[in-house]
Subunit: 389 residues, 4 copies
């Protein structure tokens, strides 16, 4: 019989639910060397934890993250709280010898991220950070194509991650607008994913020059004034406005360790974009185009693939011949979805803990990604190129 | 505590796994009024059943469909076997007072479908047929737009469902090529879905004129010669060829009960199409375009939506403001996948059994859909318009 | 020095201007074996003819088509009047020994078209009919690909030509709505082009079964009441409505001489479509997709073009490696436009008259195309398949 | 009768032919207040000039640019030679009191461009520089939308101009690779157009930080070794390689005078891109997307254009309701082409000379555009932000 580990999830928001679903579904999709038992769900709002317990079948619900870590049946701690809490929870969990599965970004500031990486280095538990777009069949396939030289020697990476969830100037002030709670703005929410993809495909970024803007300088404060956010309901406003403390939009030129160039653009205020994580990669023999809004297709051009008059970018619908996809359905072009990415991530996590796969990105890998984001802020303040140590 | 019903699934192929996953996931995505216990999995290949038992957590595995139906803990029977067995299993399950969740098409011939509908009419159990594309957010949203008059009085429906899984003339002969095992070819596999969508949006089809072709007249027989099919592995061939008994491609003009026109085209041999279930609907005020290969978007045009110079088809990425989507993620444009459609279908099934929703399509509803397919064959043979009774 | 012929154009509307521009531009784009002198422009509205004379540099302007034909300096007569006049003018011009360049469709009724074809058969002058989409680089390239077997043995053609110029129920009644002046509706305006393309690529259509609808049964009559149409200005209405005499929408299943199947759909009332002349062709080795709204690209899929995981439809931007394009610009992807198609057509015409190319489609070739349109009407009335003689 | 000016064109390459065609066609498309007579065509290759004379109907052909300028019948000089000659010819023509219509970029170096602008400032003749993409209906429509506030207060411009005409490492060395003859590489050929569009829509760029790369460091020298280039024929190679002196790829972050941010990326070595001049503009109320490879469409999103569930980017096919388009055809969606842009440009030129329109961009306007390109080179060398004076 398959061995299993006990899972404790902290946080009952979107990502908490996503983790729970993924732990439940992974063994029905993949053949897992290691099972996962949903032991305990924790949330400062105990009622929310209890509701999640019923929904997902956790054995226990608790009202603090400390109780989750203290639970002896818990081998792995999932951290899905607001960014500002990641550091404290991760340090405690690693200290307690647990495996840590942490949502991105690591922490609200670089200092916190550095401490987490330090702790992870010497910890007994293994770590994985939730850069879920790395699990997208088309993204992983693009990575493999580049590695195998399918487009020759690569020379350029153009990346964008635009959404419009804060494009409306009347979208209320929330924790996302605060330095102390969210840290970065679009850079943390969106560009972090973009850098994780760039790193995976192109190697480390070593220099950046950047510029950022807070387009909507102040936002209306909700009547409740609690700084939390609700995407799904209209919120009563207090009539007051508060200054936004982080960037809506950022752009950067980057240089990679091997000398290649690239650019990054991100915004949470670009109307009409819903999840436009897109990249273009150019090499000496071809190019690759991707846009997550059409996540089930990839475009590839290769010089001389066929005779010139019939050559062009190939619109490749994902199918079982591509990474992961065939575990979900053997039928081409039927499509997988966002939640499936999280299932793939959890399968990777369990395989990693079982020693079958090398986990990526660990907290230490994620630190490299997040250093780029902070270098972007730094470069903007200094209006100059910044070297990444 | 939530009441629950016992589920027995017959068949361990793609759709058997899909049903099992959906029963497990539905309560984590939707708030269900009724739980589902995976009681028993049955397959003539007992080893396959036992493997599925382990993977999905069924309580028992059995080697015949009869044992599934006879199991007193089973309240609902899922039928996911090859088409030719649907009729016998469904009749027995309904006779035994079970609810029936049957994959499409109903049966290998019209006679079988008629008997199933007759049995369903007087049965105690409720029924649902697996026309899963009806659960696609964009398809359901299109249906609602049409019903609410968003594009005015509708006048035309153009539907296509093309794939290329049998486009290669060296794709081996299998049960799909046989009248006795599969019944129809592309009409049963693909066009059945298209008609289910047309019926849901446009109302019943009452007349058809059609034409069909078996493009690849004979196919190589596998060495094993067992008539089963494997999509995922290369198959050794015997050197012999056998005549294909059903159509690769079909086309029809149709008339709907309200006098509107439409057309249907389907093929399993149209290279480059992977899951091209696409439709265009035109009305007096606008139009709607859909293609399942980009299942997370819908195009809508409405006359005068904005001033003429900036009017055009709106490319709408699915989001939580569309049907079902928000249960999977509150983030717009992130995408749901094929397996999620099955989760929505199972949630509907359980809601239906709990009396919260009117089940659609039941076996009787599905009969109307499948009568259209047989009328297409009939019209081709007679080379004339055929009225649907 | 290059020899030249004298051109007389009848009609000063859109197509009259288009012919004049094309005769002027052709020698600057192509190396012509034969020049063309703009001798005379004729219109019942003499002032319009005089205005066109000044604009394009004709030597003379006249107030009747008879004067154009009688002009001894005229070797070639361009017919760009409303459809109902084509027959009389063409017969007179052929009788007078002139070459005839006639806009499509041939005549308002089949009888007129038959008489034109009869006259053309024995005439001294050569003829060409203005099916300009045959000159589109992507369309001509698709034709060549099919002929060279690039997609193997072809089995299916799906054609559509939808526009929305009469989708608005308040678009006024005009000559286009009348049997005596326009003859057919969308079939004549749009589907004629589609059939010309189908014939060129797939060979002759020999059987059809069809259905048509007049979606907007009556239209408001303009105050002036003269039955002409103005697309560019708002028209004062009389308050009265008049019954539309021809179809807005038509659909047909067709069979080609070689046994292949196909379908045709056309409408002048499909909102959001501006010039959606689109086709899909499927063969044993691949497929080809085209849409005139993106006339500068063609999509081609070929089985095994590259390894399966990177195969897909190739989005081919037109360039100098494709037919005609390089005459306009050597730069790939820069695009040619609708007027350029007319220039290519006129170059073909002059080459044909000079004996360098075999003209296609002549009036006789066009008769075959238009017989299909009348068979569609006939099939609708009889609600049965119709054989083309 | 319309007054006219005498035109002398210098250069018989692609752009020379394009100018000639445009002068011939403009009066047939637009109602011109001023005619244009093709007086003389000049080329150092006299035979080429004579061939062009015959093709386009010039009155005379000459073997030097000096003779064109000296010709008393010439009122306007078109400069279409390689970049390195622009300066000398323009200075002489302006000195001689002629109007100057010059292809971009102004000169091979910034010094030349400055001298041209100085000369233009005090000259009697008017000037226009051939930034033809400004004439694209969709580009001009985008500019007007932005100016009218259709997408609110604009905050971001993302521009790209990628082609692949030098992506192949075996594409021979030519004048385009030389500092003395071409000056800049992709920046001059491509990015110059991009900046012209950015300036027209967003206002002047005032700061840049940039990076460039010569991807293919050396190229094979043709046997003939003459440094000219032939795109249309295979060239015999000498076996030697020569170092490329300018950039293949460049990227920049920019700041506009009003404080807005933007980015520019350009390459002549990005496989699969044929004429990918694309931009995205984001504002407080919406966004606009354009790609010249689909030059006949524009995408516009506006917040609240319709209810949220049916809102999305509108795919707008160009039609007569958009700038210029209706002069070519009154039919929507039929498409215009690259050569038509040049016709629009020439019509603007003649209107400008007649005093009916304010010419844009003059040589002085173009200087601002080209200063940005040189600042990009400067910033790369200094690896820092550069202010534009």
């Amino acid at each position: 019989m398959t061995e299993s580990i006990g899972v404790g999830i902290i946080g009952t928001g979107i990502m908490g639910a996503s983790h729970a679903m993924a732990f439940l579904s992974a063994p029905t999709i993949f053949e897992m060397p290691l099972g996962a038992r949903l032991e305990v769900i924790g949330d400062v709002n105990l009622a929310a934890a209890q509701k999640a317990q019923a929904r997902f079948g956790f054995k226990r619900a608790v009202g603090s993250w400390q109780e989750v870590i203290a639970d002896p049946a818990v081998d792995l701690v999932s951290i899905t709280t607001p960014n500002a809490l990641h550091r404290d929870i991760a340090l405690a969990a690693l200290e307690a010898g647990k495996h840590v599965y942490c949502e991105k970004p690591l922490a609200a500031d670089l200092q916190g991220a550095l401490e987490m990486a330090d702790a992870a280095k010497s910890a007994k538990g293994r770590t994985l950070v939730g850069y879920n777009y790395l699990r997208s069949p088309a993204v992983e396939f693009a990575r493999r194509l580049v590695q195998e030289g399918a487009i020759g020697k690569v020379s350029y990476f153009r990346g964008v991650y635009d959404e419009d969830y804060m494009a409306d100037e009347m979208t209320p002030y929330s924790w996302r607008c605060r330095q102390d709670m969210a840290g970065l703005g679009a850079l943390g929410d969106l560009c972090s994913h973009l850098v994780s993809v760039a790193h995976a495909i192109m190697g480390p970024i070593t220099r950046v020059v950047a510029d950022t803007r807070t387009i909507i300088k102040q936002r209306p404060v909700p009547a409740a004034g609690d700084g939390t956010e609700r995407r799904d309901v209209a919120v009563a406003l207090s009539g007051e406005f508060r200054a936004v403390e982080n960037e809506d939009t950022a752009q950067a030129l980057v240089q990679f360790a091997d000398g290649n160039m690239g650019s990054l653009v991100t915004s949470r205020a670009h109307w009409g974009r819903k999840s436009h994580l897109a990249f273009e990669i150019f090499g000496s023999q071809g190019s690759i185009l991707f846009d997550h809004e059409r996540m089930n297709e990839l475009q590839v051009y290769t010089k001389g693939a066929v005779d010139a008059p019939t050559n062009g970018h190939r619109l490749i619908p994902m199918g079982p011949e591509h990474p992961y996809y065939g575990r979900f359905t053997p039928a081409k072009g039927h499509g997988i979805g966002f939640n499936d990415l999280k299932i793939i991530e959890v399968a990777h996590l369990l395989n990693g803990i079982a020693g079958k796969e090398a986990l990526y990105p660990t907290i230490e890998d994620a630190l490299a990604t997040e250093k780029v984001l902070h270098a972007i802020v730094d470069s903007t303040q200094r209006q100059s190129w910044v070297e990444l140590s």
